[in-house]
Symmetry: C2
Subunit: 390 residues, 2 copies
Amino acid sequence: MTDVVIAGVGQTPVGEHWDISLRELALKAIEATRQDAGGLAPQALFVGNMLAPSISGQAHLGALIADFAGLTGIEASAVEAAGASGGAALRQAYLAVAAGAVDVALVVGVEKMTDRTGSSVEAAITTTIDGDFEGVQGLTPTAQAALLMRRYMYEFEVAHECFAGFPLIAHANGESNPNAMFRKAISAETYRRAGMVSDPLNMFDVAPNADGAAALLLTRAELLPAGFLHPLVRISGSSMVTDTLALHDRPDPLAFHAARLSVERACRQAGILPTDVNLFELYDAYSIFAALSLEAAGFAGRGQAWQLAQDGDAHPLRLNLHGSLPISTFGGLKARGNPGGATGVYQAVEAVIQLRGLAGKNQVPGARRALVQCLGGPASSAVTHIIEVI
Amino acid sequence: MTDVVIAGVGQTPVGEHWDISLRELALKAIEATRQDAGGLAPQALFVGNMLAPSISGQAHLGALIADFAGLTGIEASAVEAAGASGGAALRQAYLAVAAGAVDVALVVGVEKMTDRTGSSVEAAITTTIDGDFEGVQGLTPTAQAALLMRRYMYEFEVAHECFAGFPLIAHANGESNPNAMFRKAISAETYRRAGMVSDPLNMFDVAPNADGAAALLLTRAELLPAGFLHPLVRISGSSMVTDTLALHDRPDPLAFHAARLSVERACRQAGILPTDVNLFELYDAYSIFAALSLEAAGFAGRGQAWQLAQDGDAHPLRLNLHGSLPISTFGGLKARGNPGGATGVYQAVEAVIQLRGLAGKNQVPGARRALVQCLGGPASSAVTHIIEVI
């Protein structure tokens, strides 16, 4: 297949954007991205969005955003795979460019989740789990994560405090990200004292719902002028995999099977091992998801990933910015914020900034290759990309 | 790009399926399709759906349907572009196979619209138009079509009766389609006497909301065994184009600009002229849409398409099954029914049945090449495919 490169990236701050509409938010990210890419004109737009039809009362986002961005006449559609929507939209754009059907494709992930009250948002998010067999019982995605964390603690005899490392790293990294929703490092003591959300998940185990938009511009390397504005980064691996939607259908709920398969397939395509990457933008919607994602990717044995996040040099593989496997390098979902269908696009944008060496205080030294993964539901959908400097 | 063929098709009857769930409906179409294709195993699933998150309270349809169909582990995502969702899902699957990323891709279009009362369904459908500038004024898609029809009647001095040909042809063709929602031919008198829906649209100018699922299995020709079950049909042209979402933003609302561009691009890819096709599965959600689609594709001048649908031999280009440009060959949206995001997939399934020569009483003699088009909103999204016998 053709080499697909990411020629432009853009993002809005993540947070509460009560003063601007969904389409305006998307436009800001698109304009930043087109400027970043030196004005390349896209022929296609893929929108990653999870909840606009139910929360914002607006579907048909492809035509809406193409229109508002002054791109009427291009191809445009919306892609949904719950929390993995942004990654799924990136994958569709990648396929369109790889197929040679379009030369330049734009991906935008956009979500507005904070205009509505918490209960109506939680109800909307709950449409992403199995309605007939889970939703009907009152289960929500957060309660699902709580069940997983409780089971992990029981099965592997791990105390709740052991998960502290994940939000600590995320918040430390978010502190210097101007686009992060929360820009303040936290201590282990803050984590320990945080209020309960859904036992055993506390406030720092759960990433905040947020508003935001991020965008990417994809093209083929040979279409860029010599001496292009930025170091070229290409997508060397792309994979999307599903698992059962309902958690109760899994023989082993603590194995994120789709996440594992998706990493394997993306790495096989890129011709690398997971350990060949310099950073891992993982899907830390919940602390327990960070742990299970690391284990699924093979970076830790079952029940052991929390050890990688521990303070000190006890473990050779560490997850902070100067460790050997930095995660959540701009704060992750936890501190940057989790704007639903935009999240997967933010992750890829952040990876590109790292690979360009422009991450400032958040820079991972010598970053040449990134593993980027987003999940829908409890890894019922997993989308993994490997992005690297050419 | 690689030759992409449609190796299997399947569909459920269109109608009111109150006794089975969304996932069961999708499964029926998938099982029929996999059987039709001789058991080829898909690696990817693209779901065309318009309203399940708002009407059925269920998002994340990719993982849900892959799981329920026993295909856990494959790639799956949902694609939305209002009424063009089914066509957009077909296009994504086409791109995935053309890119060489997957060998076999499944497309399923599924929608359940009749479980809820009319007003809540109309509210959900209205999320597909411009919420901030049209929906907020009380406009609905049906009212939009009424405005277009009224304008057409005024601008071209055409009486309402002149549109009768479109539903007459659709209902005549639907009579012998066992999967059609309405299987009864109607007369010009029935049309003339029908109750008003939204002035000047009467009951026979509006396709019925319906439940249904249809599926397609795509692969590359070289992967099929010699002496495959069916004559091979390939996708020789594929195009998706957007126009402004809001009708009031168009300099000429009676020109379906995206529909025209989409036909042009698909024909250019296939190396044909629109007149080289043997049938046209067009998007007759409203009689006026049928007329405007024919004009956009260049089959009639502005304000003249209704003449093609007239009874008798006055016009050389006629639209019934034995004419030179048959439309809605299994009843179209009007008589087969319009199951939202499934509609675009039904259209392609019906085209394949025609090209295989298995359409029975609905057979278009000598059908070798079909033009298939579905629209989202008032052609704010247009997806066109050209499917032909190899």
